[in-house]
Symmetry: C2
Subunit: 369 residues, 2 copies
Amino acid sequence: MEKGEYRLRKEDVEDLAVGAAILGTGGGGDPYIGKLMVTQVLEKGKEIVLVPPESVPDEAFIITSAFMGTPVTLIEKLPSGLEALRALEALESYFGRRADYITPVEAGGLNSTIPLYVGGLSGRPVLDGDGMGRAFPELQMVTFHLYGIKATPMSLADEKGNSVILDTIDNFWAEKIARVVTIRMGGWASIAIYSMEGRQYKRAVIPRTITKAIEIGRAVRDAKKHGRNPLDAVLDVTRGFKLFEGKMVDVSRWIVAGFAKGEVKIEGLNEYRGKTMKISFQNENLVAEVDGEVVASVPDLIVVLDLETGEPITTERHRYGYRVSVIGIPCDAKWRTPEALKIVGPRYFGYDIEYVPIEERVKKAGVGG
Amino acid sequence: MEKGEYRLRKEDVEDLAVGAAILGTGGGGDPYIGKLMVTQVLEKGKEIVLVPPESVPDEAFIITSAFMGTPVTLIEKLPSGLEALRALEALESYFGRRADYITPVEAGGLNSTIPLYVGGLSGRPVLDGDGMGRAFPELQMVTFHLYGIKATPMSLADEKGNSVILDTIDNFWAEKIARVVTIRMGGWASIAIYSMEGRQYKRAVIPRTITKAIEIGRAVRDAKKHGRNPLDAVLDVTRGFKLFEGKMVDVSRWIVAGFAKGEVKIEGLNEYRGKTMKISFQNENLVAEVDGEVVASVPDLIVVLDLETGEPITTERHRYGYRVSVIGIPCDAKWRTPEALKIVGPRYFGYDIEYVPIEERVKKAGVGG
């Protein structure tokens, strides 16, 4: 085993599922399905090896592995896992070259686990980093795009055995065409995308995010074991801020062009009594307002947790009466440049507000703790 | 030049455009655009060589070249022609094998001319046959499908530079996924599809349909030159039946899932006075009824011609007041088996009627001449 490599253990998978759900900011698909898939691979006696980005050779060939689609349809139509492997193989066969490493594109949600499954099953090491440091709903919302890496050639594969290769003029067209294909395939597809060399990867990646997610999950587990508040443990390990606490009183949702969009209203409890928070989401939580004032927005992370258990809640599980706390976590610095904000800032999602880093918003509003 | 080969002349292109519009049965895209493209190739001094199917070697590699999409969007977004070549090259590069021959998939409409353009431009002979003997709206409505040939791997390319390769579990899934891709690409795309060997082609093809279309066009031209009725010339050369003559009084149309659907009502003139014909179409004319009685249906050809000039009219040009004659032409015998009727008979298109060959319908109804 090379220096810095890490062999995944079963308890890491539990922790990863919790940490990835938190970094998923309500979207990215419930990591529970991915947890089952990865556990299955380990139980078969296969190894899953995590490699830190800095130790990747410049010439190494890297392919990104992920699921794409509307998270809620994953529940209706379960993946077999083999489609993820077929997506990878379809792209490798198109290139005529085998990937030396598999990388996640999202540390948040289901997509933190899919590359571990694919890497473990096919005997390829998985890189400990991603292109978001969280979850985002569109293919080009990734630091790889920001650093000029092409999303295509990319492949999509469904559980029936259909596969598709795209080669597009830019990453926005990759998103547009891949999106309609996933819808037609039944709501989601496995994809292999953003292939690159080690030298490109090391510049573009947000490093150490998979072990970060494991660390977050472990902090929650430790807190529970020692009778501490898991929320505080999450805030500690993520350098996050508590934004609100309350009861869900209104949930509206609609599916538009393959995205689960919606809004949830939360009536304040305890020190937040008399106030109302509104969270708007598109797969992921995008903007949080308290009594009409924005307290957090993309690309910073807005996370909803079960008030009692500290368990993170995905947007498809919002329902009337749910008692929750809401926290905000600063995004990676790569997302805070003007170029980055053009593709992941609130305006891209149709909100006419300026992005202000959550640290400043929290200071100004006097919320957070 | 091999025995039976034919070098296309400029006047053939004019005749082909007319003949293909007739075999297009109202759909398949206006061959006018294709005529311009093919003429351009000939004017560049390139050769377009038509080869009869029976002279193709068993081991020859054949790729089908076509446009796919809603014909009306071709007018809004003109093809450059190069996307047709790129679709072919994308598929060849996927196979790692160059096509020895290009074949049309439709003798009707624009798709009769696209392979001539592609073949001429890229220096490849074009086969004188197709998989329909007419035009049809869906990818699997082709004798190649009937004879067990896979539509995929297939490619799609748009005028912007995007390309897509599909590999599907069956030809229906090829249709479903390719359809949403064409919509997303702006309404149409160039495709390369149904690749096969010479031995498969010779069994599955409807032979000599391109020269047949040229022959139909030439008959119309000759009739006009000699002051004869072009309608009679068309009936002669196609063994068709005159079904109706009248004035369009009502046209409704709607686009559903990438198809131009609609209905046109025609009020009888001359010997048809007092009667009303209704034609239902989905890209192509599908069912013709006179006063509620079916007089012709798919897969037989229903063709609408300008009453004065004999010029065929595509469904997107239907309009109030247009004076037309309507003819029916027997389809190829390959379409009249129970298996074939499952994929191109009236029931597939949602009409609860039995297919009856037009010769019998005409005899029974006492129409036709």
